[in-house]
Each structure stands twice: as structure tokens, then as C-alpha cells.
Symmetry: C2
Subunit: 212 residues, 2 copies
């Protein structure tokens, strides 16, 4: 049986119920840790499920910071220092990553409190998560305020660190080999199992399943 | 062994290799079909992997349209009629969904060419995908042009249709029950297996795994 839920009913939902409901609607989401540091050397780490691809040339990624959300420290640090890292959450660090969403003060490093190690790369200001297998270093390109007071942060990719055996001949990165997981709703974590890769779609041609 | 790939090397990559590489970096992505229709009744359907949550109150979702990409017809239709639907791709319609990324003319309906059925709900202008189990009806709220000529489309949720047994007591939607899949890179499709749901994170408190 299908439910048909209209906006009037969504508005009437109990607020925590609505947050779970609407957060589930976009589908499975990436789970990433954003690493930053402020001018005084205070590190911050926050879990973000809204990272997305914005273009390959120039290589850009974006993510959303919502008003009053924990990642405000992240945004403040990016505005101050311009640098941030995006680190894939893998199956061994899910609880550590989820714990970064607790409300720590700016003086408290989530790296320390969530038992994750920060590492630095030469010439790059922001910390990376040592335990993360796929790490991306970015520099702020644009920060846009949207109508509902969310902010869209766009960064240019400067550096990518990943296990050699995850990179395939055609440039595709095998995220199951890096144990990268995904999230649904606010708090549900999922491993993945590959179904297939498909060939580039062309009008009037049958799709092929790509072999490794 | 880790690879460290700097931006200079990304710029030098062969263009198709770079597209696969950078598209893989954000992690696992949602796979959604955007349904629209123009003022003449010509339907359009396009696969989008960049849908994201923007807020629960008001209930907003967004997605990215890149320049010269196939979903331009989608954007044109949204600008003309204001309405669009977001339909989860499930394991039974992956090839149909992927095929919508072929370059069809505006006169050609991807519903027809990709063997998916369009259905309409009373009072809602845009078509939904019948075979999709989770369907969301939205009305355009804001369209923003970003610096690299991508456009961010934001819609207000007006209607949600989903199987009753997917909706949990706390508002969370079980996307494994709806057979929703996810995508990585441009063309790799994945099922998921739930690891756990975690309790709301608080400073100094241990996380609990939530039971159904």
C-alpha cells in the first residue's frame, strides 16, 4: 500500500519526525568528514552528508552547511583560512565519524574527542583524517547563501590521496575497495555491493555491462 | 600504497579519465530520475546523482544541472512550468534509468524510449515514474547560477508517495525496503546492506545502535 503525504501533513509532523522523514527523501548519501583548522591552530572535524560533484574541469566539489548546525565551525574556519579536506568515512570509523556531530565547543577538537588522527600534507593548511582512505584537499572557491539561510560551500580540488589499488584504468575509483560507506536519513549507515557498471548510454544502442 | 595526486596532474589527465576520476570523489551518490513536462505536454526524464537535502522546515531539496549536460531539457521545463518530480531509482529499473542519459531530442520522451511509465497525480503538473517506489513532487523555489555555469535548482516538496511499510515510527524511511540503489562515479550501481542506525550524538555519551 502506498502512502500519499501532502505538504500540509509534512508541516504538521512532529519536528523530530519531520527531520528524519525529509532527510531520508533524497536517497543514499555520501558520508564525509570535513577537516579544517582556524588561524590559532584549533582543529575541527564534522560529518557532512551533502558533498557533491560540481565539475571535473576545473575540478570542483560542494557541500551544504545548514543554519545553526554543528558544521558552523567548519564554515567559520574555511572563511578564515580558505582550506578544507573531505575525507571518506569507511566501515571502521563510522561511530567516530557520527560522534563528530555532537556539539563540541570551538576549543575542543573533534579529532581528539572522537578518536581520529589528524595529519597534514606539505603545502596544505587543513588537516586530513589519517584513518580515512580517500582524502581530498580543497581550497575555497565560492560560498553562496541560499534563501533558507543554508550556505553552499564550493571548493577547488588541490590534492587527492587514495589507495593505488582503488584507481581503475579509466579513472573510476572503486569505492568498495576503499571500504567507503554511505548514509541514509540522519543516522543509518550502509555498506554497498556492486551490481554492475554500465556503458555510456547512446540513443538506439543497447547498454553493456562493463567488465573490470 | 597511497597515490598522491596533485591538481597539476588532474589538469593533465585525459579528459574522459578525469571525468570518471573526479565524479568518483564525492563518495556514493543518490540515483534519482527527474520527471518534467513542457507547456506543450512533451515529457522529459533524466537521471541525476546530485540531489540533496536542503532543509526540513520548509521541506526543500536541490540538485545540480551542469552546462551542456543532458538534463538541460529538465531545467528548461522547470523554468517553464515550475513543477518537477524526483523518483528513486530501484534495482529493477537501473538500466532504464541509465539509458535516460542518452541524448534524446526534446520531442522524444525518455519515458517512452527507456521503457518507463509516466503517471500523474491530481493537482500536480509534472509526471512521476510509475515503477519508482519513492516519488517526490516539488515546485521550483529558486534557481541559482554558480561560477562554473552549473545551476542549482531548489524545489519545495509538495507531495511524497512511498510504500507504507518503508516508513518507520520515528519518520525514518527504510530505503532498503524500497529497493533504492546508489551510484558511484558516472556509471557504477550499487545495492546497500544496512550496518546500523546510531543514536543522536552527545558530548561525553556513548553512541547506541538503534533497534527497529
Amino acid at each position: 500500500m502506498d502512502l500519499k503525504i501532502k505538504i500540509e501533513e509534512i508541516v504538521e509532523m512532529e519536528s523530530r519526525f519531520r527531520v528524519h522523514f525529509v532527510n531520508s527523501l533524497s536517497g543514499f548519501k555520501s558520508a564525509n568528514l570535513i577537516g579544517t583548522v582556524d588561524g590559532k591552530g584549533r582543529e575541527n572535524l564534522s560529518m557532512i552528508s551533502s558533498c557533491f560533484h560540481l565539475g571535473a574541469d576545473p575540478a570542483l566539489m560542494g557541500f551544504i552547511v545548514r543554519p545553526h548546525s554543528v558544521p558552523r565551525h567548519t564554515l567559520e574556519n574555511i572563511l578564515e583560512t580558505e582550506y578544507f579536506s573531505i575525507n571518506h568515512v569507511n566501515k571502521d570509523i563510522i561511530k567516530n565519524a557520527h560522534q563528530t556531530s555532537a556539539r563540541y565547543d570551538k576549543e575542543e577538537s573533534e579529532f581528539f574527542h572522537c578518536n581520529l588522527a589528524s595529519i597534514y600534507e606539505e603545502g596544505f593548511k587543513a588537516p586530513f583524517v589519517k584513518e580515512s582512505k580517500v582524502k581530498i584537499g580543497l581550497r575555497k572557491d565560492e560560498v553562496l547563501k541560499l534563501k533558507n539561510n543554508t550556505e553552499l560551500v564550493i571548493g577547488k580540488i588541490e590534492l587527492v590521496i587514495l589507495p593505488e589499488n582503488c584507481l581503475k584504468k579509466d579513472g573510476f575509483i572503486d569505492l568498495e575497495k576503499s571500504d567507503t560507506i554511505c548514509v541514509s536519513g540522519l543516522d543509518s549507515y550502509h555498506g554497498t555491493n556492486k551490481i554492475f557498471r554500465l556503458s555510456y548510454a547512446k540513443k538506439g544502442e543497447d547498454l553493456k555491462e562493463l567488465k573490470d
